[in-house]
Symmetry: C2
Subunit: 221 residues, 2 copies
């Protein structure tokens, strides 16, 4: 094989891809050979180009980031996917690794962390950014978050909005769905998590680290 690492970028924002490409191309042994703007395209282009490493944001239109990882891994179980997400929440990392990602680093990481991660991943080594690793370790010690796994990606998204104390109508507007659907999801979420009230739901969410407590405590009322 070539001694350079062939990379595919997946992000729905062209500007963002542009920036990453510029950054990565500065590395002598990195080569960005493809870019995709959604999960479907990522899958197609992966089959076409067989990159060494996929660098992917999972917050994609249609929420198909995780699904794309699954499909790519199904097509090639040696596929090396590095998730590069804005979410500091370890649950995302869990979902991503479960879907088959080899690494997860947050966008707030240093550029060189990204670069090192890509090298690591290309050598088939798992990689987590320090903040995520720590958070995950804490969770491992603490709670069983199997219940959260029951949630679909969409439900998880609605849960996050609910936890921000948004109303059904606000969430419906944000996601462009009917308030009725939000209400139904709200109900299903409570069922799946085994809670009977929103207060219990909030407590559980805090236990599971779905709520950033520092942010909560600091925010203006």
């Amino acid at each position: 094989m070539s001694d350079s690492i062939r990379i595919m970028l997946v992000d729905d924002h062209a500007i963002v891809r542009e920036g990453y490409r510029a950054l990565l191309q500065k590395q002598a042994n990195f080569e960005v050979i493809a870019e995709a703007c959604d999960g479907a395209e990522a899958y197609t282009l992966y089959k076409e180009h067989r990159p060494d490493v996929v660098v992917m944001d999972i917050s994609l239109p249609g929420q198909s980031g995780l699904k794309a990882i699954e499909r790519i891994r199904q097509f090639d179980n040696q596929a090396k996917v590095l998730v590069f997400s804005m979410h500091q929440n370890p649950s995302f990392a869990l979902q991503a690794t479960r879907a088959g990602a080899l690494g997860y680093i947050t966008k707030s990481s240093d550029p060189e962390v990204l670069i090192r991660a890509i090298v690591q991943i290309s050598n088939n080594k798992h990689t987590l950014s320090a903040d995520i690793a720590q958070a995950l370790a804490m969770e491992k010690l603490g709670h069983d978050q199997s219940a959260i796994d029951e949630l679909t990606v969409r439900e998880f998204e609605i849960l996050r909005l609910l936890l921000e104390a948004k109303s059904s109508q606000e969430i419906a507007d944000l996601l462009n769905i009917s308030p009725k659907t939000v209400a139904n999801s709200h109900y299903i979420i409570k069922k799946k998590l085994g809670v009977n009230s929103d207060i219990e739901l909030t407590r559980l969410a805090i236990k599971m680290n779905l709520v950033n407590l520092l942010e909560l405590v600091d925010e203006a009322t």
Copy 2:
């Protein structure tokens, strides 16, 4: 005046009073001259005996602990009341000091902390146990909890139970009132705190330190 400190104990559990009395009598200069089992009796006995220090639990039947402090202070604005409560929650301490208590220490404190506190109080010095002092200081720095002050003692009590994710029926059974009253209070509490949902209520409660986060995170699901 005598060189011994004349103490009145107020607690609804006779056994508890017994224990404290035994403990306090061991101090050469302490003298337990009266005991009351509720707020009304505390008021009456205070007028009768004029103790130097009142040591009082505020979780009394009828929730008249705070009210009793107010009345006693109204009768004698030099009255020295030390609240000795099981609640680690600084909001209780705030309410107590607002009602006119000179000190607040938790029942989990060392016996000698209680003894020192009584001496301090008798010298008209404010006293808080270390845990409460720290929590209160944190609050001072942090949030404005003026909204909480709007709540009556009863409402505050119901709020605490609500935050434990208890149902209206459970709370009704605990307090021997109708679930309908609990629902009404629940509504009033949300109005007073200016929130629209239970999720918001829970978040606010966390901000205001009404929920012990460590306990929350540690407890079994």
